[in-house]
């Protein structure tokens, strides 16, 4: 594929970027004793981006031929020329980058190819059947397995020339329990970049199912916490949501240029000394993080970007255009979801570095607070105000975990929350590898870290 793309570019003199993308998604879902759906999705095409007259032009084609790709190049150039007069802030050129050259074949691909559809179907069906036996309060248990296999080739006129492939499997269980007219949900999911063994490395399918079912049943007897500003210990999944939603989005350089709260704060203190925050294209500490990419969608090798070092804001996340504007090197953060999507600045694997405490010490040192666990969804704002939803909130009183409360929305101002971090655990976990981040397009990301104690606004009664 690289050869075809290079051939298409052989006579080009300006900047042209060609991105071939083939994606196959398989999903299997079982509920109420039967396989509810099996689906296979295939999408292939080439996205063409040009920089002409200081403006971007983009076109795409699902036909993988030289003629079709070259036609798309002409459409993209025309689009750029037509719009150039309106663009005030012209893009003079793009900086050189650490371009990826060669083939990068991901781990686990053969493992998934060798496993049959029947094997995957049996797994979701068996787990679902087994789960409903846990409690007669369970109304419904859904079990899903999915995998995204993708391959990309990225070739540019200024030096990128790479092919890569990877597979991202996910496994999820969602349960609904009922008692006395009350319905509650529990869910648990995992997702990695890598093979089957990587997916089920820390928890078996049965353990994942048990956790989801237990949450749904336990929540039937829970109540809302008291609302207000509270001391909280966040589990790694919640830390992942916090660093992704509260900080990560505000330091995406396109967002910074639009006026996010992180604008002009490089070199400023934005967190306590205990806070060192990174975003990496690799899977740091151990393999499998769900947002791992060997090459970004501009053909750049991703860096491990230190966003905050000991509380001081030190870097934004950049594509080539914003790197040029800020006079820094691209961080390899440009990502596109489909071949027909323009690459945007996106996070990859975002994490807080571990500290020196243990979870036990943190709980023992908390007189009045909550332990929050089970990430749901989250969103951030330009102001740095974020919200994320948790499944479960455990009350901590006098250094001991007491009753389970219904998890609700947690919010705060990103930098205030980081400034209030006063304990960070030694343990580390990637725990946000399932699901997607949304920013116009979806993206597979991961996030995680240690257990962290801070203060947030807890919604409640």
């Amino acid at each position: 594929m690289r050869d075809l793309l290079k051939e298409c570019l052989s006579e080009e003199s300006g900047f042209v970027e060609l991105r071939y993308h083939h994606k196959e998604s398989r999903s299997f879902f079982a509920e109420r004793g039967r396989v509810e759906s099996t689906a296979l999705r295939k999408r292939t095409g080439v996205g063409v981006r040009v920089l002409e007259s200081g403006t971007w032009g983009f076109a795409s084609t699902s036909e993988i031929t030289k003629a079709s790709i070259q036609n798309a190049m002409q459409i993209a150039k025309k689009a750029a020329r037509l719009s150039s007069a309106l663009r005030k802030d012209k893009i003079p050129n793009l900086p050189k980058a650490n371009f990826a050259v060669g083939d990068f074949i991901g781990k686990g691909i053969e493992d998934f190819r060798s496993r049959s559809v029947e094997e995957k179907l049996k797994m979701v069906l068996d787990i679902q059947n087994e789960a409903t036996r846990h409690s007669n309060k369970l109304q419904s248990v859904g079990c899903g397995y999915s995998e995204i296999y993708e391959e990309k080739a990225i070739v540019t006129t200024d030096g990128a020339n790479s092919f890569f492939s990877l597979v991202r499997p996910e496994f999820r269980v969602s349960a609904v329990a009922k008692d006395d007219g009350k319905l509650e949900s529990g869910s648990h999911s995992i997702g990695v970049t890598g093979g089957w063994d990587c997916l089920f490395r820390s928890q078996s399918p049965s353990q994942i199912s048990e956790e989801a079912c237990k949450t749904a049943v336990d929540l039937l007897s829970s109540e809302l916490p008291l609302g207000g500003l509270s001391t909280v210990i966040l589990s790694p999944s919640i830390v992942g949501l916090l660093v992704h939603e509260a900080i990560g989005h505000t330091v995406e350089a396109d967002f910074v240029l639009s006026g996010s709260v992180a604008q002009g704060k490089i070199g400023h203190r934005v967190g306590s000394d205990l806070v060192t925050l990174c975003d990496s294209g690799a899977s740091e500490f151990y393999e499998g993080a769900g947002g791992t990419i060997p090459v970004d969608d501009e053909g750049v090798i991703p860096t491990n970007t230190v966003i905050i070092k000991n509380g001081i804001l030190s870097s934004y996340l950049h594509n080539r255009e914003t790197a040029e504007r800020f006079g820094v090197a691209p961080t390899g953060s440009a990502r596109a979801w489909e071949y027909g999507d323009v690459p945007l600045i996106r996070m990859r694997n975002t994490f807080l570095l571990p500290g020196d405490s243990s979870l036990e010490e943190m709980i023992a040192n908390t007189k009045d607070g909550y332990y929050l666990d089970g990430a749901k969804n989250g969103q951030a704002d330009a102001t740095g105000e974020f919200m994320f939803a948790v499944q479960k909130a455990y009350r901590i009183q006098n250094g001991k975990i007491t009753n389970l409360l219904k998890g609700v929305t947690v919010s705060g101002l990103a930098f205030d929350v980081l400034q209030n971090v006063d304990m960070v655990s030694k343990e580390f976990k990637w725990d946000l590898g399932s699901g997607h981040c949304g920013k116009g397009q979806p993206a597979k990301v991961d996030a995680g870290g240690p257990y962290v104690r801070t203060k947030v606004l807890l919604g409640g009664k």
């Binding site: 109420r32 039967r34 396989v35 099996t38 689906a39 296979l40 295939k42 999408r43 403006t55 971007w56 032009g57 983009f58 076109a59 795409s60 699902s62 459409i75 993209a76 689009a79 750029a80 719009s83 007069a85 309106l86 663009r87 005030k88 802030d89 559809v117 179907l121 069906l125 109304q139 419904s140 609904v176 009922k178 007219g181 009350k182 319905l183 509650e184 949900s185 609302g227 967002f255 240029l257 639009s258 006026g259 709260v261 027909g340 323009v342 704002d381 330009a382 102001t383 740095g384 105000e385 919200m387 939803a389 609700v408 929305t409 919010s411 606004l457 807890l458 919604g459 409640g460 009664k461």
Partner: protein, 459 residues
Amino acid sequence: MDRGAIEKRLSDQKDLLTNLISKAKSNGIEQVEIYSSYGYSEDVSLEKNDLNNCTATEENMFGIRVIHEGNQGFLISNHIPSLYTSIEEAYQLAKSQSTPDPDLVLPETRPITNQFDTYDSSLDTMGIEDLVSYAKEALGWRNDLYDKINIDSGDFSLSKGYKLIVSSKGVMAHELGAELSASVMGMGVDGDLVGSFDYDSASGFTKDQFQSLWKKAFHNFGDKCMGALYAKPTTGFQGKVLLPPDAVYSFFLGLFIGSLNGTSLRKGKSKMAGKIGEKVASSLLSIWDDPTNKGFMGSTGFDREGMPTSFKKVLTEGVLESYFYNTYEAKKAKLPISNGCATGGAQSLPGCGPKQLQIAPGNANKDEFFKLPGKTLFVNRISGTKDGASGDFSGVVKGGYLLEGGEKIPVREVQIVGNAFDALNQIEAISKEGELIGESSFVPYMLLDGFTITGVMEN
């Protein structure tokens, strides 16, 4: 790409898909459905108060459903030359399963009485140059009227295409469409002050319709961003919330409508199960689904399974009147046929849901809501989470105001917690005035009482 070219493509594709289905049947694949979605679009995007990118995209997606002895395989592809191979792969997926359900069948064909063609050929005279001029106009509005607003992103789009469904049961239906649309997202920035995000959008079948709606939407966006810029924290309280149409539709009502979905009902995940004919909401609330209104964007003559759509009452003065079914869920509910509520497109299996919800206006004057005694929280938008089964929702209020003593004070760092099913009975008043959300659903303002509002300041 103009109307003539799209019609030619559609005609050729009908022949192609019909032949593929015939071939499949002759090879023993009895139940095949192909849903085709073709789109051509030109787009101009904005970023950082400037033009960002111009794009042209064209794609044809196919959703292929094969049912074999009560088991279903589904495949999505954008590759026309291998469509027959895709049918065989979907067949293999169906055959690999061991949990058949005799109720899982493709629907028999039914006549479609409402014919829709929302392709106005005058749009064929437009192109990227026109989108660039709309972008220029919007940036001019920003510079002249809202210079404290940063446009984080925006998009102007001219799109055209068709949807087509063909099945081995004789279903054959198509609709052409074309529209102009635009959206904008951004926030107010004044020195170190940054307001919360807001957005707005508009779309139209014709140039005139689009221009008028877009101008209104952009100014609405500007006013919302400016309103949020000088927001301050406030104290929590128990009391009233005022929901504008957007908030009613996107957050509060969504949970209730989701509970009327045939799948949720069958799986025991809906609190509305067994409540047809019962009063489940305030008598002030009446809702209906009307996909047959040709004046609304998104109206359609057939659903995801090629079954005819129709007007239906959902809630009349608080009494529940109907659920939403596709063919499978209708059979599971012991009904002979669906009620034309299969949702989705080429990239998804048929779900269940409404097409064009309409909420009856009330008899209150919305301006009076802003002059109520005591404290009322105006909830412009909720950034939060909701649980379909329990109905619980919670979130941060965005672009909100505290209405107190005739004053309108912008607030931030405020959370609201509630339950959608309880909230149906907490409606205190509904306005006469409302808005057409997405140019398709009429939604009024609603005043509700009895909410917990959490603020960061001490009482």
